[in-house]
Symmetry: C2
Subunit: 210 residues, 2 copies
Amino acid sequence: MSINFNINNFIKDFENDCHKVQQKNFEKGEVITSYIQKRNQFCILKSGNADLVRYDSNGNKTIVEHFSQNDIFGEVFYDITTNNELSVEAKTKCQVLIYIYDDIHSKCRSNCKFHQKLSEYLPELILSKVTNLNMRVELLTKRSTRDKLLGYFSLLSTRHFSKTFTLPFSLTDLADYLSVDRSAMMRELRILKEDGFIEKTGNSITLLYK
Amino acid sequence: MSINFNINNFIKDFENDCHKVQQKNFEKGEVITSYIQKRNQFCILKSGNADLVRYDSNGNKTIVEHFSQNDIFGEVFYDITTNNELSVEAKTKCQVLIYIYDDIHSKCRSNCKFHQKLSEYLPELILSKVTNLNMRVELLTKRSTRDKLLGYFSLLSTRHFSKTFTLPFSLTDLADYLSVDRSAMMRELRILKEDGFIEKTGNSITLLYK
DNA sequence: AATAATTTGTTGCTTTTGCAACAGAAAAAG
DNA sequence: CTTTTTCTGTTGCAAAAGCAACAAATTATT
């Protein structure tokens, strides 16, 4: 939380300081970037929501990551040895800052404040990515759809400081995020309601236990 | 690979340069560390093998990560909001370098070369962690046990530059790593053999496709 | 070298999950 | 404001995965 706040300020203050940083705008549904070659793109989502998605050979869609304001993404975080194409799709209008990772390390010619600050924050930025990924791994290693749902809900509950919260995406997308079949997930949601674990009105969930 | 080589040299050259860095030795089976409180431990595995494991309320064990030489781990990579205890267990004799993450950021009093070099390498170190975690997420989002097995095998094959390779752990542990039932995994392995996808002699696997 | 502990491999049965298909509700687009 | 598209919710059936239990093989331990 405090990290995010810093990033936010830092972007505001310095984004125009460096001519190497590109800002691009995307409409809902557009592909922001595809992880095809190792161009070492490094992106910050200034505003909007986007998903990193993968489609496997059976046509299954997986939402690998869900990005909102100030999240970072890009090829630089991936070994592109895999055969499945990954791409980042804008779910709403998006403003994205794009640069090449090598530029951060090897200082900018103009030695601008943007790069100075970025390399200062970089370990923290990437570290927050690691903790997020670890939470994701924890979710995905849960053995049943029920445990994945409850695990994810309890995460959102913690983040919102409340037993009641709104899902950041549709139920269809939630299934793709938890990597389970949608209809099976809907069934499990119904059982969770029937068993008195949760209440659900649209995309709003309330945890009833503990 | 080139990153690992650098880390290796860097550890050899500078590890004794800083009095704040602790080196500890562990016997097989010992718990190296538990992620309980946020002490911001940051560890480098100098030698040996270790697993980061979690046991859920149903008694299922999950191998969250598998560490070998020069891998990094520690509480600093986790938000300890979860209820499940995570601990790192030595699978063989292990030599571990331990320090506190804050020490890296705020420079060491003595301004030693170790910390200097570490903060230089840190983004790369953490970044390699991110790419590893992303591969792990890719594996775990595969829908079937078969796809998880094949995905993992193809990863090992790529890493070893060979269609034949040895699993880094027992089949029992492999199941805990892929987060599937062991007997179901054994069944799937047999079918993969029968269908001519793989050959298997003990812990050595050969891919027969493509 | 003998014993204990762990790992491998297998199977019958149960439970969970996935698939396909559909209707109604809600949201987006024109 | 109407039409089109996407999303939600459900179901019967099929397939996959989990569970429990066991014997044989392998690996550690004393």
